[in-house]
C-alpha cells in the first residue's frame, strides 16, 4: 500500500495509556479526518505518523517504507500546526523556502553569501525561489511574500503554513486542527480551499479535528477516536448513517442523535416504557434506541410527549419534546411550516422510520434490530 499504514500502535506516557492498538490505513491521495473529543489521542497519533513522537509498540509505514524508527526530518511528511508555527523572524518567502533550503542545500551551502561564491548554490537558490513563487501563487499569497508573520492576519498565516507544507511535494500531509484559530466565516471558506488544494496536490492527507462538521464536509473517510481507541473508520455516509458504536453516533451530527432508554422483552420486542416501538432484537435486555432528529416526525400515534420548546432555524424547526414514557427529551427536526401550528406544552406523538433507527447495547455496541412487519406492529401497538 502506497499511503500511510499504522499497525497496532500503542503509546504510553508514564502510566497513562494514550493510544491502544490503533491500526489505520490511509490510501494514496486519500483525505482522512481523525476526529474525536479533545484528549482522545488524535494529535498524539498524528505526531507519531509525523515522527515527532515515538511509539511504545506497533509500526508506521509511509509510501510502502517502514518509518517507525525514522526521524521526522527523513520521513518526507509535511505538517500544518494548530498555531501555524511560522518562524517569526523570517519573511513569508523565507518561511516557505525553509524546507527546501534544508533539503536541497548542505549546511555549508546555507551560510550567508554562499550564493555569491558558488554558481551551483546560486542555481539551487533560484530554483527554490521559483518553487516558493509557484506555491505562493497557488495559495494567493504572492503579494505577501516580503512580510513577516506578525503583519499577517490569522487566515494569511494559515496560508503561509500551508505553503510551507505543499512547497516540497511531500508524500504525506498532516494537519493538526489548522482551522481552529480562524473565525467561523473564514473557517468555512478555508475548509473548501484546503479540499481544493488537496485535490491539486494529491498527497495522502491526515486531518486532525475535533469539529465533526469539518470532518464530514472535507473527508474521503473519517476515523473516530475516543480514549485512545479507534472506534470506527468509514466514509462520512457510513459514519453518520451506520455508526457501529453509540459514542460515534453521539459524536457525529448536530444536534446530537436522540437516545431513548428501551428494553427488549423475552420475545425480543423492543419497548419504550412498556410500549412497543416496532423493532425486534435478537436477545432480550436493556438497550438504547437512537434516532437522528431528522428521522423523527409528527404522527397521530407513536411515542407520546409534550413540546418543551421550539427553535426556529429558518430552513427547519427544532422541536424539543419531553417523552411521557421515560425522562428523556428528544429533539425532532421538522419542516419550518410547522412553526405556525405548534405551541409549547402541546401534546404530540412522534414516529420514526424503522429502517433508520439504530439500537445499541448498554456497553455502546451496535445491536441488530429488525423492523416488525407492519401488521404485527399494529397488533403490538394495540
Amino acid at each position: 500500500m502506497d499511503g500511510i499504514v499504522v499497525s497496532e500502535v500503542s503509546k504510553r506516557f508514564g502510566d497513562t495509556q494514550v493510544l491502544r492498538d490503533v491500526s489505520l490505513e490511509v490510501g494514496r491521495g486519500e483525505f482522512l479526518s481523525l476526529v474525536g473529543p479533545s484528549g482522545c489521542g488524535k494529535t498524539t497519533l498524528m505526531r507519531i505518523v509525523a515522527g515527532l513522537e515515538g511509539v511504545t509498540s506497533g509500526t508506521v509505514c509511509i509510501g510502502g517504507r517502514d518509518v517507525t524508527a525514522t526521524r521526522a526530518a527523513d520521513r518526507d511528511v509535511a505538517m500544518v500546526f494548530q498555531n501555524y508555527a511560522l518562524y517569526p523572524h523570517l519573511t513569508v518567502r523565507q518561511n516557505i523556502s525553509v524546507p527546501l533550503m534544508m533539503r536541497r542545500l548542505r549546511p555549508v551551502q546555507r551560510l550567508p553569501f554562499a550564493g555569491w561564491l558558488s554558481p551551483s548554490v546560486r542555481a539551487t537558490l533560484g530554483a527554490i525561489g521559483e518553487d516558493v513563487e509557484t506555491a505562493a501563487r497557488m495559495l494567493g499569497i504572492g503579494a505577501l511574500l516580503d512580510r513577516k508573520p506578525a503583519h499577517l492576519s490569522g487566515g494569511q498565516r494559515q496560508r503561509v503554513a500551508l505553503g510551507r507544507a505543499i512547497v516540497r511535494n511531500p508524500s504525506a500531509f498532516l494537519m493538526d486542527e489548522p482551522l481552529s484559530n480562524l473565525d467561523a466565516a473564514l473557517r468555512v471558506t478555508t475548509r473548501s480551499e484546503i479540499v481544493a488544494i488537496h485535490r491539486r496536490v494529491g498527497a495522502s492527507t491526515v486531518y486532525v479535528t475535533h469539529d465533526q462538521s469539518e470532518a464530514m464536509t472535507m473527508s474521503d473517510r473519517i476515523a473516530v477516536m475516543m480514549q485512545g481507541v479507534l472506534l470506527q473508520v468509514g466514509t462520512p455516509d457510513e459514519i453518520y448513517g451506520n455508526p457501529q458504536d453509540l459514542r460515534v453516533a453521539r459524536f457525529i451530527g448536530s444536534p446530537s442523535i436522540n437516545q431513548i432508554a428501551a428494553h427488549a422483552g423475552p420475545d425480543g420486542l423492543l419497548c419504550v416504557g412498556g410500549v412497543s416501538v416496532g423493532l425486534r432484537l435478537e436477545k432480550p435486555g436493556n438497550a438504547v434506541l437512537a434516532v437522528r432528529p431528522e428521522d423523527l416526525h409528527l404522527a397521530s400515534q407513536g411515542l407520546a410527549g409534550r413540546i418543551e420548546h421550539l427553535e426556529y432555524l429558518g430552513e427547519s424547526l427544532l422541536a424539543h419534546v419531553r417523552l411521557t414514557e421515560g425522562a428523556e427529551t428528544v429533539i425532532c427536526r421538522l419542516s419550518p411550516e410547522n412553526r405556525t401550528r405548534l405551541r409549547p406544552d402541546e401534546p404530540v406523538h412522534l414516529a420514526f422510520d424503522h429502517g433508520r433507527a439504530l439500537v445499541f447495547a448498554p456497553d455502546n455496541r451496535r445491536l441488530a434490530a429488525r423492523p416488525l412487519p407492519s401488521a404485527l406492529r399494529e397488533v403490538a401497538r394495540g
Partner: protein, 307 residues
C-alpha cells in the same frame, strides 16, 4: 437649537471628566515622581554640578573650576589604567559569561533530569555574598597553599601568583567575574528558552533541520533575541561596575594593574575626599554605561523584536 445646547453641555461634562481623570493620574503617579526626583534626578544633578567644582569633603567653600577636573583626568595615570582595565575586564567577562551561560542553559533545557539542581547550583554564586566568596577565592588562588597551584604543580606546570602578578591579576578577577555572571545569565536564558514555543522545534524537525546546530540557527538563536539583548546589556553594565572583588582581593594592585573605574571613584571621593574629581570620574562612568545601552537598544532592538 435645543440640540446644540445639549451638545455644549455634553462636551462641557466631557472636558470636566477628562480633567478629573488627568488629576487622578497625576495623583497616582506623584509618589513615584517624587521618589524619582529625590533619589535619582537630584543626586545626578548634584554630581553633574560637583564635577565642575573643586569641592572636597570638609572644605569651607568651593569654586567652579570649569573643565579642570576633566583635564586632570587626561593626565592622571591611575585613571587611564582604570579605564583600560575596566574595558579589558568587560571584553573578557561579557562574551565568555554569556557564551558559557547559553551553552549550559541549552544543555540543562535539553537534559531530561536535574534541571532544578543545576539551575540552583549555578545560581548560587549570584546569591552568595561576594565579600565572603572572595575569601574562598583568595584561598583557592593562593600562590603557595592554594589548591589551584597545588594541582598545577602536580601537573608540572608553572604556578603563577594569580592575584599578585600584574600580568595575571586581571585574568583571575575576570574568571571570578565569569563565575559570578554565568549563574545570573543562565537563569535568564533558561527563562528565555522556556518561552520558545515547542511547536517551532517540531516544525523545524519536519522542515528537515536535522542537526542540533541547524535547529539552533533556525529557532533558538532568533527566538532568544530579546533575552540576548537584555543579557548583553545587564552583563555589560555589571562588568563595568566591577568593584567588590577588586576591593577585597587586590585593592587595585599590584601597581594599578587591577584598578577599575568604580574603585577610582571610591578612592578619590571617600579616601582622598576629593568629591569634585570623584564626581567628574562618575560622569565619565555614567556616560560609558549610557552610550553602551543606547548603541545596543538602537541597533539591536529593531532586529530582535519581530513585530
Amino acid at each position: 437649537m435645543v440640540d446644540l445646547s445639549q451638545n455644549a453641555a455634553l462636551s462641557r461634562r466631557h472636558t470636566r471628566r477628562i480633567d478629573s481623570d488627568t488629576l487622578a493620574a497625576w495623583a497616582l503617579a506623584l509618589p513615584a515622581i517624587i521618589a524619582y526626583l529625590l533619589m535619582i534626578l537630584l543626586p545626578l544633578l548634584a554630581v553633574l554640578a560637583l564635577a565642575f567644582t573643586d569641592y572636597e569633603l570638609g572644605a569651607r567653600g568651593f569654586a567652579f573650576v570649569g573643565f579642570d577636573n576633566f583635564a586632570e583626568m587626561l593626565r592622571d595615570r591611575t585613571f587611564a589604567a582604570s579605564i583600560r582595565n575596566t574595558f579589558a575586564y568587560a571584553l573578557f567577562v561579557v562574551p565568555l559569561s554569556i557564551g558559557i551561560a547559553l551553552l549550559l542553559a541549552i544543555l540543562i533545557e535539553d537534559g531530561a533530569r536535574g534541571r532544578a539542581f543545576f539551575r540552583a547550583a549555578l545560581f548560587l554564586p549570584v546569591v552568595s555574598l561576594t565579600v565572603a566568596m572572595a575569601t574562598a577565592w583568595q584561598y583557592l588562588l593562593h600562590p603557595t597553599i592554594g589548591p589551584v597551584n597545588t594541582i598545577l604543580r602536580d601537573l608540572g606546570l608553572g604556578t603563577p601568583n594569580w592575584l599578585g602578578a600584574s600580568e595575571w591579576v586581571l585574568v583571575s578577577l575576570g574568571f571570578i567575574g565569569i563565575w559570578q555572571n554565568v549563574g545570573f545569565n543562565l537563569v535568564l536564558f533558561l527563562a528565555g528558552l522556556t518561552a520558545i514555543p515547542r511547536e517551532l522545534y517540531s516544525a523545524a524537525e519536519i522542515d528537515g533541520a536535522r542537526s542540533p546546530w541547524a535547529r539552533f540557527r533556525l529557532v533558538t538563536w532568533p527566538m532568544l533575541g530579546p533575552t540576548m539583548l537584555f543579557v548583553v546589556i545587564i552583563t555589560m553594565t555589571r562588568s563595568i561596575q566591577v568593584f567588590d572583588t577588586v576591593q577585597t582581593l587586590t585593592q587595585g594592585g599590584p601597581n594599578n594593574a587591577s584598578e577599575v573605574l568604580l574603585r577610582t571613584i571610591y578612592q578619590e571621593a571617600f579616601h582622598y575626599f576629593r568629591f569634585g574629581y570623584g564626581a567628574a570620574v562618575t560622569l565619565v562612568f555614567l556616560a560609558c554605561v549610557l552610550v553602551l545601552t543606547l548603541i545596543q537598544t538602537r541597533l539591536i532592538d529593531r532586529k530582535v523584536h519581530y513585530g
